[in-house]
């Protein structure tokens, strides 16, 4: 069996007998985690980094979501939208607010062709990393993966509580069975004559709105 042959070849090459469990990673191979600044500075850094990678950011106060959505629907000519079904987004009433604006709501459980025809996908954010402007999004039954991928515009709604100083602490929270993705700006390529082109396969625009802390 190839499995046993390969493992035996590895052991022979390393000069070791079978069955030894790997020892812990040496402490020297770890780096101290990044130390966070104060919360306001961290949030400012996050938004600045997102802007640097062509993301569009906005800080919303209580009750400003409806008006912000109206602005987005107009600016991006949103006709169809789909949303995560998390309790958080449901409590915010994102689908209802969009429907009130005349946007057709497509179920995130619809087939992929229907989701690809959406103009807007709305998601939450499970963790955000200020140093790089990165959003971490988990997958799950109420967080269908295509919502942040197929529509041409991605809107991510973020609470300041989701900020983490570094990848390490963020990974420690989300690791385990299941899927997650780190998103840093909209899709981009420089494959043709090194000209940076935004929106090649994934979303062509990324909006990150910060909601008030709960």
């Amino acid at each position: 069996m190839s499995r046993d042959t390969i493992l035996a070849d590895v052991r022979t090459a390393l000069g070791r007998a079978a069955g030894a469990a790997p020892p812990p990673v040496p402490a020297a191979a770890r780096v101290p985690p990044r130390q966070p600044g104060d919360p306001a500075a961290e949030l400012a850094l996050l938004l600045a980094e997102i802007k640097k990678v062509a993301g569009k950011t906005q800080v919303l106060q209580e009750g400003e979501l409806a008006a912000a959505l109206a602005g987005l629907v107009q600016a991006e000519e949103i006709k169809k939208a789909t949303c995560w079904q998390t309790p958080e987004l449901q409590a915010l009433g994102v689908e209802r607010l969009l429907a009130d604006l005349g946007v057709e709501i497509v179920s995130p459980y619809a087939d992929k062709e229907a989701l690809a025809a959406c103009d807007l996908g709305v998601t939450g954010v499970d963790a955000a990393l200020p140093e790089t402007g990165t959003l971490l999004l988990r997958g799950g039954a109420d967080r269908p993966r295509p919502v942040s991928l197929l529509p041409r515009v991605h809107l991510a709604l973020l609470r300041p509580e989701a900020l983490r100083a570094d990848l390490g602490p963020a990974f420690a929270e989300v690791k385990g069975p299941g899927y997650f993705v780190c998103v840093t700006g909209p899709s981009r390529t420089a494959d043709i004559e090194l000209t940076v082109t935004i929106g090649v396969h994934g979303p062509q625009a990324l909006y990150v709105w910060v909601l008030p802390a709960r």
């Binding site: 790997p22 069975p177 899709s187 981009r188």
Partner: protein, 508 residues
């Protein structure tokens, strides 16, 4: 470029490099080095060096305990509902993928950029089985349409102009394509979006495999990696066994090193963390996940303690960007999926010295690659080790250089050890070269040394330095005089001896 090479002749390949290649390659390498310098500078030199050392330590620790980590990885992927396959070589890996495809009646596959599948020639195998496979990274898509190999590991189509790509799209896709990068990207988006939605199987490689959790990690900018691993009902990943890392904490280091070194980004746009198939129908994502763990020569690479460090590589491509040789020839000359300094050490170990023994010599040993490598691979040291392997052989592989090269290297080595032999040799060559000499150059040498003069003339042997040096002092001049008398006496004695011997033979 989906064919596995049977012989790589670097010198001949260099002759085939088009004159515009260095200019376009250097545009890319200069861009990446510039953006890299910015983001590394932002972190600070001390922090960067700390990260490099940690990256090296993590990768080396994993290699030294690879058996245990592979077993753990297999267990975790299986627990997450994935299927793990093991392939000793390219043929077995291709067979496994074809069997999975056949079981699911796959007709159309989409593929995210993957070096491992290039290495095994998977596209070729799929096409032979009647399965259409589309490269979806924009650069890979372009070179697949053009039917050429990658010229750079990160931007594979950098040698093609927008005008050339526009002609290609017009011809192959039947659309009216203007010579504008944005319009061309939009055409590719439309074409490939349809392919993503229609495909039955997504194929990917991986940047990392996390043993602790059984997680496949894919780093991309365009989002094609996400498409290939989210939309088709079946996801097959082909990944070298060297891609394992112990745990998520290790990625905290490696994901800081990779994007900064590769494209000069602090973070790539998308990093997917895939653990098994989808958790529920509502989540979306593939129903079945297969991981093919590929050896294909890697366990042999592990045998040597120095050369083993080749497998630390995280495929960032920075060694290409800083390499003076790569910058002058581009990726095609290396004749395989891997180019530049990493290609020069990886290809000969994967393919063997008989196929790729030329490549360790395609370097000036300047050491820039080792200075920049984010996981501190001692590339020059490995190059020298592999040169020795090609000529003399070692416990991993016997010598693969033609015997004449080995004899010549032996004679050369002897001459450098014995000054009198060296001096004698240069004087002999000075005389012997006369029939070939034209205007101070040797434009054509006889085989096997014609390998040099195929590319450029060889300077004629002058060898006057030692004479000039001695002639500066009276003592030196006296010594020269004595030597000349000695040489004449020696030659006279030799001629005498020879004629006596010939005379004796004639009498017998």
């Amino acid at each position: 470029m989906s064919e596995i090479p049977t012989h790589i002749d670097f010198r001949a390949n260099v002759q085939a490099v088009r004159p515009e290649m260095p200019a376009s390659v250097q545009k890319a390498t200069a861009r990446f080095l510039g953006t890299r310098a910015n983001v590394v500078g932002e972190l600070g030199e001390a922090r960067w060096q700390q990260l490099r050392q940690a990256g090296h330590d993590i990768r080396l620790h994993t290699l030294e305990h690879l058996d245990g980590y592979l077993a753990l990885l297999e267990q975790r992927v299986t627990e997450a509902g994935g299927h793990v396959h093991w392939a000793r070589d390219a043929a077995e890996a291709n067979r496994i993928v074809l069997e999975i495809a056949a079981r699911h009646g796959v007709k159309r596959a989409v593929k995210a950029k993957s070096m491992a599948t290039e290495e095994i020639g998977l596209n070729h195998a799929l096409a032979e089985a009647g399965i259409s496979v589309l490269e979806t990274d924009l650069g890979e898509f372009i070179i697949q349409l053009a039917g050429v190999g990658p010229s750079h590991i990160i931007v594979p189509a950098v040698h093609l102009t927008k005008e050339g790509i526009a002609r290609l799209f017009t011809e192959k896709l039947g659309v009216d394509a203007p010579a504008d990068p944005f319009a061309l990207a939009a055409i590719a988006r439309r074409t490939l979006r349809q392919a993503f939605l229609e495909a039955d199987m997504g194929i990917s490689g991986a940047n990392f495999l996390v043993a602790e959790t059984g997680t496949l990690v894919i780093v991309s900018n365009e989002g094609n990696g996400r498409m290939c691993t989210t939309l088709p009902r079946l996801h097959v990943a082909v990944v070298g066994i060297d891609k394992v890392v112990p745990d998520m904490e290790s990625l905290n280091v490696l994901l800081k090193l990779l994007p900064r070194s590769a494209t000069g980004q602090k973070m790539s746009c998308y990093i997917s963390f895939i653990t098994g198939p989808r958790g529920s129908d509502g989540e979306g994502g593939p129903q079945e996940f297969h991981l093919v763990l590929l050896d294909n020569g890697r366990t042999r690479i592990l045998q040597d303690e120095i050369a083993r460090q080749t497998l630390l590589c995280i495929r960032c491509g920075v060694c290409l960007n800083v390499c003076p040789v790569y910058n002058h020839v581009g990726g095609h000359a290396y004749g395989f999926a891997y180019s530049g300094p990493i290609g020069a050490i990886l290809s000969p170990q994967l393919l063997g010295g008989k196929v790729a023994g030329d490549l360790p010599f395609a370097s000036s040993l300047c050491g820039a690659c080792a200075e920049y490598c984010p996981v501190k691979i001692p590339i020059p040291e490995i190059l020298i080790q592999l040169r020795r392997r090609v000529v003399e052989g070692d416990r991993v592989e016997g010598p693969s250089a033609p015997p004449v090269i080995r004899v010549a290297a032996g004679v050369g080595g002897l001459a450098f050890r014995l000054p009198w032999l060296y001096e004698f040799g240069t004087q002999v060559l000075k005389v012997a070269q006369a029939p070939l000499r034209r205007d101070g150059w040797l434009p054509a040498l006889p085989p096997p040394v014609n390998r040099w003069t195929l590319a450029r003339p060889f300077p004629a042997f002058a060898a006057d330095f030692r004479q000039w040096w001695r002639s500066r002092t009276p003592a030196g001049r006296r010594k020269m005089q004595q030597r000349r008398i000695g040489a004449v006496a020696l030659i006279a004695a030799a001629v005498g001896l020879l004629s006596w011997l010939l005379g004796r033979r004639g009498r017998q």
